[in-house]
């Protein structure tokens, strides 16, 4: 790390610290002005996300919720917030240390009544702090437990690691498992590439199938594994490649309501982290499939929709992110046929079917190749 980078980091840390301190300062002033301590933040619900016309992604709207010490729940939240802020300021930023989301949850064991009951609660509080401060968890030195998923394809990148720069080609110089996306993708520089498009894939099995069948070489495609609901770093690198390299992004998932949501979080942003949509969503990403209409057209083997699936589809009909004629049609069709299908269902027609027939047909249809 050179001197400029080092001092850049110091400046960033100092901004983070001031921002966090401001929050506690607010509490202090509320006490002094005889106001019951509280914080306000946008409601993080489906009802309160709206399309930002400039960036074309879904962000939180104006509806706010207040967390106040008037109730035990609110007061406990504020106490937890104070504890977390103290840890971030004095344990992380002052000491130049970091913890993972999971570690943070365990650290709270010592906080008596301010201790978190489960990790989802501390994860959520970190997201709240991101929203309140306008910063990202990396600014608080908080890391996710796992790194991002993997990437494979005709692109050469340079990663600034803690042990110096590493440059590698993600097809020729990596193993079969591909290149591991780090949790902070801001450290990556794209050196050069021969890619025509990026295909983001829900399951590892399907990514392996495409690699084995040489799909990346044949079509000059970068394969990005989403690993279910994609991690922030995965979404961020997709957005960066899309914007910086002007590569089209297509998303290939199972054909079920949960996979529709995976696509939505790649393209439009997640409801849970809409404050980061502008940073992570790729509005240009297109959905390849498995579409409800593919289930019919390609006569895929299917499973019946269960009660949760149906509920999820019905909920999507009221989700503003799915409020387009295309999605209304797909969702209603799936409800009508009452069936869902996995990506792997194409194997029923032979192992090469997906790479030789389905994907080329769909990519042509979508004008990508």
């Amino acid at each position: 790390m050179n001197e400029t980078e080092k001092s850049n980091k110091e400046i960033r840390d100092s901004i983070s610290k001031t921002t966090l301190k401001k929050l506690i300062q607010d509490f202090y002033e509320q006490f002094e002005s005889e106001t019951i301590p509280h914080i306000t933040l946008p409601s993080r619900t489906k009802k309160n996300i709206e399309l930002n016309a400039n960036s074309d992604v879904w962000v939180y709207g104006d509806s706010e919720s207040m967390r106040s010490a008037k109730t035990v729940k609110g007061a406990t939240q504020l106490l937890k917030t104070s504890h977390v802020v103290e840890l971030l300021m004095k344990g992380h930023l002052d000491q130049n240390k970091s913890s993972t989301l999971r570690e943070l949850y365990y650290i709270s064991e010592n906080w008596d009544i301010a201790k978190f009951n489960e990790q989802s609660e501390s994860d959520r509080l970190i997201e709240d702090l991101e929203i309140i401060t306008g910063l990202q968890r990396e600014d608080f030195h908080v890391r996710p437990e796992e790194n991002g998923a993997t990437l494979y394809g005709p692109i050469k990148i340079k990663e600034l690691t803690k042990r110096g720069d590493r440059t590698m080609h993600c097809q020729d110089e990596v193993g079969e498992a591909g290149y591991q996306i780090p949790y902070n993708v801001e450290t990556i520089k794209f050196v050069e590439h021969d890619a025509k498009f990026i295909i983001a894939i829900e399951t590892g099995g399907m990514q392996d199938r495409l690699i084995e069948n040489g799909f990346d070489e044949k079509f000059n495609a970068i394969l990005v594994h989403l690993k279910g609901q994609p991690a922030r770093s995965t979404r961020r690198i997709l957005k960066r490649m899309n914007e910086e390299l002007k590569l089209p992004v297509v998303v290939f998932t199972d054909g079920d309501p949960w996979s529709f949501r995976i696509y939505a979080s790649v393209a439009y942003g997640a409801i849970k982290s809409a404050h980061l949509s502008e940073f992570m969503a790729t509005p240009a990403a297109k959905f390849i499939g498995v579409q409800a209409s593919d289930i019919v057209e390609y006569e895929l083997s299917t499973d019946k929709l269960n009660d949760q699936d149906i509920k999820a589809l019905e909920s999507e009909l009221t989700d503003p992110r799915f409020d387009t004629p295309y999605w209304k049609e797909q969702i209603n069709l799936m409800l009508k046929i009452g069936k869902k299908a996995e990506q792997q269902a194409f194997a029923g027609k032979g192992l090469d079917y997906v790479t030789d027939k389905y994907l080329p047909e769909r990519l042509t249809e979508m004008g990508v190749i």
Partner: protein
């Protein structure tokens, strides 16, 4: 009563076995599960009735054994008065013997066809005789019988009749094998029936040994016997034509008017004459000679003449206290309220309604409330939807009593509703006697009883709610808020901020605070009051000081107290209002720091923050 006559008629024409086959469903023997339940019910009802009549605290023991893939052996033992030797064969092996059809008295037995039907069922499905042991006294011998019913003649056939050793002081034991199945985990089961029976008979101990040898004891919770039901004469308004005719035929008085006076309650000389006149029959007519047509006129006349309602002291309610004990023993709950309504009358029959509601504890929160229906202390397990009790529950608007009620049906919540209807005649919807008919008088009494207990539930819940709110606020102000303040101070590296003004706000209290400032020569003192509550407060404020105060505003009353002076102000604060008292003290700031705590008088201490409340 209709069934009795039908049975009697048919008995001559067809064998009772044939009759039984045709009416299995009415008699309660349509499936293996139901047959067992009916059998247990007949045996237990008999045992409870017998104990009650003899003033014995019942101790009932039930054992079920698997005898084959399809058959069970049922053993029921009680500590009742026993049955005299001569009667044993007929009680158990003659259909309809000793039935209670004509007794006008509240009894469990009104509900069943009798234990002999169970014996017949056992005999038809297993081919085996019933085995009886009965003993009437410590020193009396124990008689052992093996009996079959002659299905052609409806007479007992005695296979074995001997004296045996039995280590009980008295009681009856019967053993029957039958085609039956024992199920658990649903409402219509032997287990549920016994549990419910135990609730309304808290003076009984009931033990059951299930086929897998699991022993369950429903323990007695009181030694208090239920009040004995008294037998009364039938009331003219409650009599059916057929019964009237039978009474006329078997009557032993030579004159109609005296027959009316002797056979019915609430008929005196004047009323009997009036009835005869209205029926256009001479009071001197021989009752045995009354024709069907005359009987009909007589029956009509009962309705035209004004007759006092029947006396209601013949009923035996469970009582509020015992229902409470009964409900409390089978469930862990937070709250039980019970009520016993005054007796009332339907169609000439006295009846009385009791209700209980249990709430909280480990009852399921999101399910429909459990309804326990009882008629003359017998649990009703089938046909809940057809019963007047259920209809009365559905008629009530439970939302006003703090329970959810989606779609205006049975409410939802952690509660059990118990309703007991006691009567000399329970109007059932059908012969299976599982649902009480929608008689308006009964529905209205059930509703009144439910409203009574529901109102008390509502009060309890709103009290709990207030306590919960209070407790929540206390947790905030004593536990959480001080920690937030401390943490904020630590992070910012400043002294911990004062939380008392906020405490007053959260508690919606009157907040009092003394602010002292140095003005160069001495101290300016300001006393701040702010009313955070919704109501006005009037109180007096005291400063008892060893100093004399300068230029106070407003002016206080001064009361010398030894070497000190008590300065007294009257303070009135409207909701949300704030006021201040100011004065000067000629002392140094350090000394002012030692000023005594603020004292207010005439306001409850829990309504004030920042001052000590005294009441003189």
């Amino acid at each position: 009563m209709v069934i009795a006559e039908e049975l009697a008629k048919k008995q001559k024409a067809i064998s009772i076995a044939e009759f039984f086959e045709k009416n299995r469903q009415i008699l309660g023997f349509d499936s293996g599960t139901r047959s067992l339940l009916t059998s247990v019910k007949e045996a237990v009802d008999n045992a409870l009735d017998a104990c009650e009549e003899s003033g014995i605290l019942p101790d009932i023991f039930i054992k079920l054994e698997n005898t084959s893939r399809t058959n069970l052996t049922l053993i029921v033992e009680d500590n009742g008065p026993g049955i005299v030797k001569e009667q044993i064969p007929r009680v158990f092996a003659k259909l309809l013997y000793g039935s209670r059809f004509h007794a006008v008295k509240q009894s469990r037995g009104q509900q069943g066809i009798g234990i002999s039907a169970t014996v017949l069922y056992s005999q038809l499905t297993s081919g085996r005789p019933v085995k009886i042991i009965s003993k009437i006294d410590r020193d009396a011998p124990a008689h052992y019988f093996e009996l079959l019913i002659n299905t052609q003649t409806n007479e007992p056939e005695i296979l074995v009749d001997k004296i045996v050793d039995w280590d009980r002081t008295r009681g009856t034991r019967l053993e029957l094998e039958m085609e039956a199945s024992y199920v658990k985990g649903r409402r219509q089961s032997v287990y549920e029936y016994l549990k419910d029976t135990a609730i309304v008979n808290p003076h009984a101990r009931i033990t059951i040994i299930e086929p897998d040898n699991n022993r369950i004891i429903f323990e007695r919770v009181t030694d208090k016997q239920p009040v004995q039901a008294v037998e009364i004469l039938p009331h003219p308004h409650g009599i059916e034509l057929g019964t009237l005719m039978k009474m006329l035929r078997y009557c032993e008085t030579p004159r109609l008017d005296s027959f009316l006076r002797i056979s019915f309650s609430r008929i005196g000389a004047k009323t009997s004459d009036e009835i005869c006149m209205k029926a256009s029959i001479s009071p001197e007519t021989d009752p045995k000679a009354i024709t069907l047509d005359e009987a009909k006129r007589l029956h009509e006349a009962f309705k035209k003449v004004k007759i006092l309602a029947p006396s209601t002291d013949c009923l035996s309610p469970i009582t509020e206290e015992l229902i409470r004990k009964g409900m409390g023993k089978e469930h862990t709950v937070d709250f039980i309220e019970t009520t016993t309504r005054p007796a009332s009358v339907h169609n000439g029959h006295p009846f009385q309604v009791e209700a209980g509601i249990a709430y909280g504890g480990n009852l399921p929160k999101e399910e429909k409330v459990e309804i326990l229906r009882f008629a003359n202390r017998v649990p009703l397990l089938y046909q809940q939807g057809a019963c007047a009790i259920t209809h009365a529950i559905e008629n009530l608007n439970w939302r006003t009593y703090s329970l959810n009620q989606p779609g205006g049906s049975i409410p939802i919540g952690p509660a059990i509703i118990l309703v007991h209807v006691a009567s000399t005649h329970i109007p059932f919807t059908s012969e299976s006697k599982e649902a009480i008919a929608d008689v308006p008088e009964i529905i209205s009494e059930v509703e009144l009883a439910l409203k009574d207990v529901a109102r008390r539930l509502k009060n309890y819940l709103s009290r709990q709610d207030n306590l919960e709110k209070r407790r929540e606020k206390e947790e905030i102000i004593y536990t959480i808020l001080p920690r937030i303040a401390k943490k904020v101070g630590e992070i910012l590296e400043v002294p911990t901020p004062d939380i008392t003004p906020i405490v007053a706000k959260i508690m919606r209290n009157v907040f009092c605070q003394r602010v002292v400032r140095n003005n160069g020569k001495g101290c300016e003192v300001e006393i701040h009051f702010k009313n955070h509550s919704d109501s006005a407060h009037h109180f007096t404020f005291h400063e008892t000081l060893p100093y004399s105060i300068e230029s106070p505003s407003p002016e206080p009353r001064k009361i010398p107290v030894g070497t000190q002076t008590d300065y007294v102000w009257k303070v009135s604060l409207k909701p949300g209002e704030q006021k201040a008292i100011i004065y000067r003290l000629d002392i140094a700031l350090e000394e002012a720091a030692k000023l005594p705590q603020l004292v207010v008088e005439g306001i409850q201490s829990e309504l004030v923050t920042g001052a000590k409340a005294v009441n003189v």
